[in-house]
């Protein structure tokens, strides 16, 4: 049955379908290695004899040659990357079903649309998540319960700002602005006497902003051989960390702390 499908399939449409899956994997926080592997597997299982995929943080380029000599080359540019592990899991499942011949390329669009449309958690859960993350880590790094609550408040504010504030600048500058505002809010919460240790509250908030996952993934990419992709993400993470440092430094200086 699979051979019948692959005979009808042109190189262009096959590569397009494979890139759809790959693009969404990368967009939702999948690793470079996984994206390349997925595209290659899908193409090979639908009758491609030669597949080349090259992926970096924000670009996928691939070429494919079918058994009859028909070729296709396409590329995708990825702009913003979010962390959506549910989508990564489901896309992985789809790619496995594709390769096993359980679904065909024609029904792929429906399956993809279903993932895109489905919201695994309602919006308020992301606020709860930010509260738990900031509060939990404020306590983890030695804050009191009140510090944890303050960090949770800053966490809510940060998520709200991130979701609804107009994107007036690029990601780097927005991170610096976010850091500055949450730094100011943390210090204010201590000044009005609600929080106790401004530093612990700020550490809890930093955990929300810090690109720890990206940094780790970049180094894993470099170790597994995708040096270029890893290096780009590495530099991006270091720059983000510097932006966070600058934002919080400005907040501390503004209230005449430290100096």
């Amino acid at each position: 049955m699979r051979t019948i499908i692959s005979e009808k399939l042109t190189a262009d449409s096959l590569l397009c379908a494979a890139l759809d899956v790959g693009e969404h994997l990368l967009k939702n926080g999948g690793e470079v290695h996984r994206v390349e592997d997925t595209i290659e597997r899908i193409c090979k299982s639908f009758g491609a004899v030669h597949v080349e995929v090259f992926t970096i943080t924000n670009l996928i380029t691939a070429s494919v040659r079918m058994a009859d000599g028909e070729t296709s080359q396409q590329m995708r540019r990825i702009t913003d990357i979010v962390n959506n592990m549910y989508a990564v899991e489901e896309l992985n499942e789809i790619s496995r079903e594709l390769c096993a011949g359980k679904i065909d390329v024609n029904s792929l669009d429906d399956a993809m649309a279903k993932i895109k449309k489905k919201k695994i958690y309602p919006t308020w859960i992301s606020f709860i998540g930010a509260m738990c993350a900031a509060g939990g880590f404020a306590i983890f790094f030695g804050g009191t319960l009140l510090d944890g609550i303050c960090a949770a408040i800053v966490g809510i504010f940060l998520t709200f700002f991130d979701k609804y504030a107009p994107k007036i600048a690029n990601q780097m500058v927005m991170t610096a602005i976010n850091s500055l505002l949450s730094g100011i809010l943390s210090i204010l919460l201590v000044k009005i006497g609600f929080g106790i240790n401004a530093d612990k509250i700020m550490i809890g908030t930093i955990m929300l902003l810090i690109p720890g996952i990206a940094l780790n993934n970049s180094i894993r990419d470099m170790i597994t051989g995708d040096v270029l992709a890893g290096f780009l993400r590495f530099i991006q993470s270091i720059l983000l960390a510097l932006m966070i440092a600058a934002g919080f430094a400005a907040a501390i200086l503004l209230f005449g702390g430290a100096v």
């Binding site: 989508a87 992985n92 930010a130 738990c132 939990g136 530093d199 440092a245 919080f248 200086l253 100096v259």
Partner: protein, 145 residues
């Protein structure tokens, strides 16, 4: 320092990040357990210094994630992203910034070194675990998901 309070903080924090990363409900318990395992290994080896503690925790974390990913048939990233946040050196980074501003050069260098060493330790641990696990799976011929 009260390790139990730290542990509870770490678990709540991991839960928070798991929700932010939209880890699905059926993988949520395993993802949080990953954070707990990582932190327990960190505590166990803390007396051997920052580097060893982070290395062993990174090693245990990667091992746990690779195994659980195969059991639960989900990508490794799902569990790794949740477990990793426990080791991210947010505190050390903050005190580095603070001491640079306060012109405490010695303290700034000390905390800056801690931040770098923590990162290096995690990477070393992950690399070691990846090599070992790949070798084991290669020998017993268990397929990668």
């Amino acid at each position: 320092m009260n390790y139990l309070v730290m542990f509870i903080g770490a678990v709540i924090g991991t839960l928070g990040f798991s929700l932010m990363f939209k880890i699905s409900r059926k993988q949520l318990p395993c993802a949080i357990l990953g954070g707990a395992v990582t932190f327990i290994f960190y505590l166990l080896f803390l007396r051997y210094g920052c580097f060893v503690a982070n290395m062993m925790a990174g090693c245990a974390m990667m091992g746990y994630c690779e195994i659980i990913a195969r059991i639960r048939k989900a990508p490794v990233t799902v569990f790794l992203s949740a477990a990793l946040v426990v080791l991210v050196p947010g505190g050390a980074l903050y005190y580095t910034i603070y001491n640079i501003l306060a012109k405490n050069t010695d303290m700034a260098i000390s905390y800056g070194t801690t931040t770098a060493i923590t990162c290096l330790g995690i990477i070393a641990g992950i690399s070691i675990a990846t090599v070992i696990i790949n070798a084991i799976f290669l020998i017993f011929n268990i397929k990668r998901k």
